[in-house]
């Protein structure tokens, strides 16, 4: 039975990696937010499976927190934001999508190689998913780099936080509850602040393109 839950965790981890790639290739902002919600849902699911298979009661709480915050609340806030900002355009990427994908594959190989020695030292049931967790952190990072628009970058940032959470779960069965609550609050407050920033940026530049922030003075 333990092996079956192990396989299930691996399968969910694979789905997380797939979603990270789907986010990287996604051109529409609304689908990006939907994918982010799915990522949160699968994260909560895999945390529940880890909690069940390792009998760690505190992981149930963090799974519940993840489900409420990352699968429902944050996507809902982002959704409201893009309706209020009246964003209709598609997300523009700096490099074209197939090239980004190839870079992404290289990152995955790098992350797997990096995680391999660490996984061999660990004796947790989730040790093999550490590589995937690191890969999804790196892929979210890549997404933040390749996008022009502020909303997509914020989704990338939140996805990176998801990756870090998954890494914590797979390496040490999650962080202490206090830390997790703190991070959850940070993310929530951060999203609100980002929302305010969106409005400010757009008011100043009539666009959410981050490129505008690079100019130091008006010409």
């Amino acid at each position: 039975m333990a092996t079956f839950t192990g396989q299930l965790i691996n399968f969910l981890a694979a789905l997380l990696l797939l979603i990270a790639f789907a986010m990287l290739s996604q051109r529409r902002i609304l689908s990006l937010i939907h994918l982010f919600a799915w990522q949160g849902f699968i994260l909560a699911l895999s945390t529940t499976v880890v909690a069940y298979s390792t009998h760690q009661p505190h992981l149930y709480y963090s799974a519940f927190l993840t489900l409420v915050l990352k699968a429902f609340l944050l996507p809902w806030i982002l959704h409201r934001l893009i309706i209020r900002l009246n964003i209709k355009w598609d997300v523009e990427t700096m490099i074209n999508v197939p090239t980004t994908m190839l870079v992404g594959i290289a990152l995955v190989i790098f992350a797997f190689n990096l995680a391999a020695p660490i996984s061999q030292l660990a004796d947790t049931i989730t040790r093999s998913t550490l590589g995937i967790a690191m890969a999804s952190v790196l892929l979210s990072f890549l997404m933040m780099i390749t996008r022009h628009k502020a909303v997509a970058q914020v989704v990338g940032f939140l996805a990176m936080e998801n990756g870090l959470f998954f890494a914590a779960t797979s390496a040490t069965y999650g962080m202490p509850m206090v830390v997790e609550l703190g991070i959850a609050l940070d993310v929530l407050v951060g999203t609100f602040i980002f929302g305010i920033f969106f409005f400010q940026i757009r008011e100043t530049f009539d666009s959410l393109d981050i490129k505008n922030l690079e100019k130091l003075k008006e010409d």
């Binding site: 694979a14 990696l17 190989i109």
Partner: protein, 311 residues
């Protein structure tokens, strides 16, 4: 020895003879889904019969390449059909070629199709050949990556060994195989000129790929090409079944399991054909410049599946 040769001949003939039936079934399902009555599952046989009884017309400047290409394509597909285990893994012929040679056989058939299309020198032929090569050059690496995943699990590149290893194991949830299966479905759609990449029913000059290559063919040559592409569809279905749904395929020398294996195979093919028709009805054809992205995704999934084996 005699029995394995019999098994070999039986399976090859099964694919070659029943391939048009699968094509007819897919077309019939598509007709039903579009609220049409359809021409019946035997229509491909009638078309083949009609074409074989016509007189061939050849262009004046057609070289011998143009005339021999259909026979080479047909022979390649029959050869592939004799390597893929469908009913039993008892295939003495399969030792001659592993999965990599299999991809090579598909490539050989495609090469001759493209060369023959350019041989006449019409605009459509060369355009179709170029488009076919564009799709193929992206589909082929993806197909190789897909085949490596089951090969790594079974520690062998021989199809019969892979099927033996995958069919007779306890249930293990392999994320890699799921990724590879999705990627395989995408590559199979592209390679068989099915809808998201090419439309098999169209003769619209802007969109056709495969049809543009065979416009100049008639009579027995066209019949052989049509038959070969029907066998190709069956071959891809057989490879998909062998790699990702191998349960029910009889192992070597187990003659009692053969009737059950045959029944299971027919059910799988019926469901697979209906699934293909459903997919084709639901999706729209991609622009030709979107095809690289479609196949790039397949390649990505295949590579991810292979990397996931390391976990």
């Amino acid at each position: 020895m005699i029995s394995s040769i019999f098994s070999q001949l039986f399976q090859t003939l099964l694919i070659v003879v029943l391939a048009p039936l699968l094509l007819g079934w897919v077309n019939q399902c598509r007709a039903w889904l579009q609220n049409k009555r359809g021409a019946g599952v035997l229509q491909p046989y009638r078309v083949l019969h009609k074409l074989f009884h016509k007189d061939a017309v050849l262009a004046d400047n057609a070289s011998s390449l143009f005339r021999t290409a259909p026979y080479i394509q047909f022979a390649c597909m029959v050869l592939v059909a004799s390597i893929v285990p469908m009913v039993a893994t008892d295939l003495p012929f399969a030792a001659a070629a592993d999965v990599i040679a299999l991809v090579g056989l598909f490539a050989l058939a495609r090469l001759f199709a493209a060369l023959a299309a350019m041989d006449i020198g019409t605009a459509f032929g060369s355009m179709g050949a170029r488009r076919e090569m564009l799709v193929a050059s992206l589909a082929e690496p993806a197909l190789l990556m897909i085949l490596f995943t089951p090969a790594l699990i079974a520690h062998s590149t021989s199809l019969t060994t892979i099927v033996e290893a995958l069919a007779h194991r306890e249930f293990v949830l392999y994320p890699s195989l799921a990724f590879a299966a999705v990627a395989f479905a995408m590559v199979a759609l592209a390679e068989n000129a099915r809808i998201p990449v090419d439309n098999p029913a169209t003769h619209l000059e802007l969109t056709m790929i495969h049809e543009a290559m065979i416009l100049e063919y008639s009579a027995r040559h066209l019949a052989l090409i049509e038959w070969a592409s029907a066998i190709k569809l069956s071959n891809y279905s057989a490879i998909g079944i062998a790699l990702f749904l191998p349960w029910g395929i009889a192992s070597a020398g187990d003659w009692n399991a053969v009737p059950l294996a045959l029944a299971v195979l027919f059910v799988k093919l019926l469901l697979g054909g209906a699934g293909l028709a459903l997919l084709e009805t639901l999706s729209a054809k991609l622009r030709i410049f979107r095809a690289p992205e479609f196949l790039g995704t397949a390649f990505l999934l295949a590579v991810l599946g292979m990397l996931m084996l390391e976990l």
